[in-house]
Amino acid sequence: MEALMPALDAVFLAPFRDMVSLPDFLIQVIWEGFVSGILYALIALGFVLIYKASAVFNFAQGIMVVFAALVLVSLFDMGVPAWIALILTIGVMGILALTIERVVLRKLVNQHEAILLMATIGLTLVLKGAGQLVFGGEPKTMITEELGFSTGSSDWEVFDGIVIFQHIDIAAAVIAIVMVAALGVFFSKTRIGRALRAVADDHQAALSVGISLNQIWAIVWFASGIVALVTGIMWGARSDVSFALEIIALKALAVLILGGFTSIPGAIVGGLIVGIGEKLFEVYWGPLFGGGVEAWFAYVLALIFLLFRPQGMFGERHIERV
């Protein structure tokens, strides 16, 4: 028992003492976690959009983020003004959505979801190869300032310390919130949004009332392409635009488990939990494990979550139990 006490203390008490003793640092950590959580949430949002409408688990979302960001940066490097480059990139994502729908999805209608998942893994390889072939493998810098985002930071003095807020992070948070609100309205109020939900519920029933599956899928892939572009800009502003992002995007899978595969608010809340949770865990509990726990925290959290609530926090409860 005597030997056990320090260990228990190190796990259950010492981290909280650290938090209280340096509250400004704690706020900084939470803010960092909040921002990366927003970015996870944005990637997860792209997943959710496609999963809702077509039950396709789009593994390629991460690479779509990289692809969109690379197109944008490369267009700018070729001398296209930033805003026109942005519009052109949206066009490219639209063409990509149409192509994917035409070449891949239409041929795989009504297949098992594991088959569709593997098809998107194939898509990932194609996009990755094409991206590296066209744009080169080196990391690129995002054109943050040219798009009108401030790159400065604000300080906030609190608890005898300073917490630094990057302006781009604040912008990311605002844009994410606006986007979620817009998508929420789009899904519940517009004609297309309702058609999307109908398709998500039942393909055949939707077809029988005259909804075009092909059209809906193209739209939804286009929408998630735009989400990917926004994510790419935000992520690129924090670090460089590189293919390493693809692995980080896998964390969105864990986010989806937490939030539920079909819930837009779930993606946001799940993203924030993963983002903040892994930062806190890394900073305060990480040293106990030797650091680097950020790499698996999200997945292990998702694993534990799966055992107790497999449908996620906001997901629809029709998961098939075995």
């Binding site: 041929k107 594991a114 194939g122 190869g129 030797g290 698996w296 292990v300 799966l306």
Partner: protein
């Protein structure tokens, strides 16, 4: 005409249930094995043996492991790389703790550790399936990768963090380490893969293999017919992870010579997954075809520019091969979800009736 079973009468039940009931298949297999065992070590160059044949066999074994889980038991896994890592690291630990133990025994024992880990991460499969299960295997992948970096005991607290294969001898001949010739390594790996494939083929057509396939096709019906999902699924995880573990141990001990954690990362898991998809889910022949295809295609592509004296960077060809493989995966999923193995079967069927395609 060439591939016709006419006149081959089965007179006993044992004949009827033989692994290869058709004489042509038996002869074909014997020829392939004879070439692999006798001809290749003599004629093939060191490069061909050590950078094409040995990796091909390693990946074929790993693909068999994943195919057992995915193609036969219907459980999607994205953690193959990590399970191979468990095999490799436990093989390393075993042989450094017990240096006198026969290396073959060590290689085969190391699979059991991997099987144990596989069962632990397979536990969620009792409650969830499909995509959800894929994410738990992803958790296994990242968690184990982290362990390979952070747990110094696993690599004997090396400064490099890599596992260096020590020299081990079999019948006075170096089989691992820098002094082992490609021929010996190739022959050992070939023997192990051949025997393990035979074992897998027999397990898969036996009671256990059938219970896996029942679970895959419809778990509720399987349960009603007396298959216990708990045993069927966990045994599939154990069996599959055992194969992956041995493949991982062979990969480090017989091919790479030393390995860091990057050798077992997520891209590696995907590579094996692609082999299974392209080769054909639920087919052992497919595993070999898929492994050969995925491993050899980039090698051939790399050889194209020098052959035509084109000035294309190696990296460019790598990207092109990535595009081709990705496109082929989509192509196979759309056109032939059973992969190369099905094409092979169709080809055999054509040979059977040739030259009278309507004379059945």
């Amino acid at each position: 005409m060439f591939y016709r079973e006419a006149g081959q009468f089965k007179t006993t039940y044992a004949d009827d249930q033989a692994l290869l009931p058709i004489a042509q298949d038996r002869v074909g297999l014997i020829i392939v094995l004879a070439i692999a065992f006798l001809v290749l070590p003599i004629v093939a160059s060191d490069f061909f043996l050590s950078s094409i044949m040995i990796p091909f066999l390693v990946f074929a074994l790993a693909a068999i492991g994943l195919n057992i889980l995915m193609g036969y038991a219907g459980q999607l896994s994205l953690g193959t790389g990590a399970f191979m890592g468990v095999g490799a690291y436990s093989c390393y630990k075993l042989t450094t703790i017990f240096p006198d133990l026969n290396i073959l025994i060590v290689l085969l024992l190391s699979g059991f550790f991997s099987a144990g880990v596989g069962v632990v991460f397979g536990l969620p499969s009792l409650r969830i399936k499909g995509l959800y299960l894929a994410i738990t295997t992803l958790a296994a992948q990242f968690f184990l990768e982290w362990c390979f970096i952070r747990v110094g005991w696993l690599y004997n607290y090396n400064d490099s963090g890599a596992i260096e294969v020590p020299q081990r001898e079999l019948f006075g001949l170096a089989v691992t380490g820098p002094h082992a010739t490609p021929e010996t390594r190739y022959l050992i790996i070939l023997t192990i893969v051949a025997v393990m494939t035979l074992v897998a083929a027999n397990v898969l057509r036996g009671r256990i293999g059938r219970s896996w396939m029942m679970i895959r096709d419809m778990d509720i019906a399987a349960e009603l017919m007396g298959v216990r999902p708990l045993y069927a699924k966990l045994s599939a995880f154990a069996f599959s992870s055992y194969y992956c573990g041995v493949a991982g141990a062979l990969m480090v001990f017989m091919w790479l010579g030393s390995a860091e954690v990057e050798a077992f990362d997520i891209n590696h898991s995907f590579l094996v997954l692609f082999m299974v998809i392209i080769g054909g889910m639920g087919s052992l022949t497919g595993c070999f075809m898929g492994a050969a295809f995925i491993w050899v295609l980039p090698v051939i592509l790399r050889a194209i520019p020098p052959a035509f004296e084109l000035d294309i960077l190696a990296a460019t060809m790598e990207h092109i091969s990535s595009i081709i493989i990705g496109a082929l995966i989509i192509f196979f999923l759309i056109v032939e979800p059973h992969g190369l193995a099905r094409l092979w079967r169709v080809g055999k069927e054509k040979l059977r009736t040739w030259p009278f395609p309507y004379a059945t």
